[in-house]
Amino acid sequence: MDVRTVNDIIDKYEGKKTALISILHDIQDRFHYLPEKSLKKVARRLEMDLPEIYGVATFYKAFSLTPRGKHAVTLCLGTACHVRQGPKILAEVRRVLGIEPGQTTPDRQFSLNAVNCLGVCAIGPVMALDGKFFGEMSPLKARRILGKFQKKGNGGRA
């Protein structure tokens, strides 16, 4: 972790306490998680207690305290996706990747996330891979897309 980056981020928000969530977002955008060192830095610079920052970092689901994988697999479990068999797709993705939501594969290639709603309900069930959305998923389609992605590996498009 580059301390300078964290300093720059805090500077951008003029070291304001009220910008804490934005600062954490920016750190996470940069490192894909919130490294412990960065949180200590934030605490010092904003003159806040570390537990207070942990409180915010753990309250909001957007933040992760553990390193994330190279690729983000996001499963939508909103109501529209739920009634169109979203949970079955999640079960399939869990099986294919061998991890639970919130976890990362041991080779750090994939992280799995289950979210409340991606807001593209009309084409549910929806799965997103590194921000690219796939609509009208089925367990089998999800298996095929992940399979292709795993094969192509680094940054290949499904």
């Binding site: 529209a80 068999q85 399939e92 807001g119």
Partner: protein, 622 residues
């Protein structure tokens, strides 16, 4: 872009933009909404750009992205002017033909048109498609006219003219009075009269005052606000500016749900462009009114859709709600008077100012005025965003606009109002949709989620889904909500696993009442609604789970099993190929069998079976 310093300059700018446009009457509009992006609209637009270069034109046609059109399910959507030709499910491979035939010669390509499933007729323009025809698209219709990343597009369709009218021809009190007279009520779900809220905030002592746009849109299954902010961000900004002028505020915040990356981006672009044009900042258009806005990214917490929790989140704190004995219009953001409205509420404001409160209130019912946008999704043929006059019946929305059920199955219920709402049975589809009627029936209109459920949706499972959702999202401050929901979830788990005890249902009702009565904020107060409404209208389904260990919809995994129908199975082996568990036995061309002990019930076999021979069974001995 030069700074616009007066109302006259804005008018001039608009005139310039319109005269510049006349160079070509051919316009290709590609929907750039999130849904169409999932289907590859970016590739389609790229293909158009390449093709337009390849095929020569005297005056090159205009190619642009637009905001979300709402009919996401048929994406990518493309319209061609002149003729207003509406193409759906467009692939990049279709583009050369579209350019050579439709754009050049005005010829229509039949296979890209929408086909009405009832009449089998091909329909050329969007206006004639039943999905659009039965709507009143006052807000959403602007989405298709503007590229959300271009302030010029918004100005060209008359954008910011309402702001001019408010700033130069109306006193702040008059703006408040106009909004009050319109009868506009908060679109976030609670339905509080907007004008009244503005007046309360205007009268509140203290400064500075703030305005907030709530685009947290936490209800799963709803995306009206995303579509509006993402598709026409300047209209939201204009609404906020008018509101700020009326209230006496100079600073606004747009709080955007973390998952809505494109809406956030487009809102940021809009703010930057408005600043550059002088429409945000000091002395706007020379009126003496100062206003600026900022975007704030949410952190992925449902409770932050609640106003006090959202405010805590903007302040950089944990998003816990507080008691509303002193309302946020008096003591809100940083303890200053704050007026918070939902995206759709703000979106209505410019139109009310422009066309007058009477035009607005001519639509709707006595107590619910104007149009409302719904996210019509789930087990229904036409899914997407629909904007309808308040007071329209559920039946009209579901059957006339939505086209009825998918695949000939029977529609059983519709869930409205998100996790605070409830499930209404088909027997109540004659009810008008407005703030009050659905509440009387045990649900709410809410922010506009409308999830249709058919015979293959299990209402016990849906009740469990919402209870678990709310348990997860409860901030934990109040015990009844924190613990009550957990216990309700456990009871529902038991039911869906065939382990319910005879008192389950009465206990659910009792717990539901306690959670409703003893929680502090809206989340807890309404958290039992999905369960209580499901119990009210679908008790039989709960009883089946409890007494017969049977899931009639075939959803609850512990209660179902997959089996092959011996009558129709041709022994093609397709199911065997996809079964990773190796649970399907049988020789080629002979009837296959599923070995229950190995089957994980993933459903892959059912998906591939060409003769629909895989059945889901429930009840009896498994």
């Amino acid at each position: 872009m030069k700074k616009i310093r007066s109302a006259a300059e804005l008018k001039q700018w608009k005139a310039q933009l319109l005269s510049g446009r006349k160079k070509s009457d051919k316009i290709i509009r590609v929907c750039g909404g999130r849904g169409c992006q999932a289907y590859g609209c970016q590739e389609v637009k790229k293909a158009f750009r390449q093709e337009l270069r390849k095929q020569s034109f005297k005056t090159p046609p205009i190619l642009k992205y637009t905001g979300c059109r709402g009919f996401c399910e048929r994406g990518p959507l493309v319209t061609i002017q002149p003729g207003n030709i509406f193409y759906q499910r467009v692939n990049p491979e279709d583009v050369p033909l579209i350019v050579s035939e439709t754009v050049k010669k005005g010829k229509i390509i039949d296979r890209l048109l929408f086909e009405d499933s009832k009449s089998g007729r091909k329909i050329t323009t969007a206006q004639k498609i039943p999905f659009y025809r039965a709507q009143t698209r006052l807000l959403l219709s602007q989405n298709e006219l503007v590229d959300p990343t271009r302030i010029e597009d918004y100005v060209a369709i008359g954008g910011y003219a309402s702001l001019v009218k408010a700033l130069f021809r109306m006193a702040p009190e008059e703006v408040v009075a106009e909004v009050k007279a319109s009868g506009l009520r908060g679109r976030g779900g609670a339905g509080y009269p907007t004008g009244q809220k503005w007046e309360n905030c205007r009268r509140a002592e203290g400064s500075p005052k703030y305005v907030i746009c709530n685009c947290d849109e936490g209800d799963p299954g709803a995306f009206m606000d995303r579509s509006l902010l993402e598709g026409n961000p300047h209209s939201i900004l204009e609404g906020m500016m008018i509101g700020a002028y009326a209230i006496g505020s100079n600073q606004g915040y747009i709080y955007v749900r973390q998952e809505y990356t494109l809406a956030y981006k487009n809102a940021e672009i809009a703010i930057r462009q408005a600043r550059r044009a002088g429409l945000l900042g000091k002395n706007i258009l020379g009126s003496g009114f100062d206003f600026d806005a900022e975007t704030v990214r949410g952190g992925g917490a449902f409770v932050c859709g609640e106003s006090t929790a959202l405010i805590a989140s903007i302040e950089g704190k944990v998003g816990e709600p507080r008691s509303k004995q002193i309302h946020t219009v008096v003591k809100g953001l940083w303890d200053k008077p704050t007026n918070l409205n939902n995206v759709e509420t703000w979106a209505n404001v410019p139109r009310i100012i422009q066309k007058g409160s009477r035009r607005f209130s001519a639509i709707g019912t006595e107590k619910s005025k104007g149009t409302k946008i719904f996210s019509l999704v789930g087990k229904i043929k036409n899914t997407g965003l629909v904007e309808v006059p308040m007071g329209i019946t559920l039946k009209e929305i579901i059957y006339d606009i939505g086209g009825g059920p998918q695949g000939g199955k029977a529609i059983k219920a519709v869930q409205t109002g998100g996790p605070s709402g409830g499930c209404l049975p088909a027997s109540l589809f004659h009810l008008p949709v407005d703030f009050d009627s659905l509440a009387q029936a045990g649900s709410i209109m809410g922010s506009g989620g409308m999830i249709v459920m058919d015979e293959e949706t299990c209402l016990v499972d849906v009740a469990k889904y919402f209870t678990r959702f709310l348990q997860e999202e409860s901030c934990g401050k109040c015990l009844p909500c924190r613990e009550g929901l957990k216990r309700m979830g456990e009871i529902l788990d038991g039911l869906t696993e065939g382990k319910g005890d005879p008192e389950s249902l009465s206990l659910l009702e009792e717990l539901g009442e306690v959670v409703t009565d003893a929680s502090l904020c809206g989340l807890g107060k309404t958290a039992a609604n999905p369960v209580l409404s499901a119990l009210k209208y679908f008790r039989q389904e709960f009883e089946e789970h409890l007494q017969n260990k049977r899931c009639p919809a075939g959803v609850c995994l512990p209660l179902i099993r997959y089996a092959v129908s011996a009558e129709t199975c041709t022994g093609c082996g397709a199911c065997q190929k996809v079964c990773f568990a190796g649970a399907i036995a049988g020789e080629k061309k002979k009837v296959h069998q599923i070995q229950v002990a190995l089957c994980t019930k993933c459903g892959a076999c059912r998906e591939v079976c060409p003769t629909q021979s895989i059945q889901v069974q429930s009840g009896g001995r498994s």
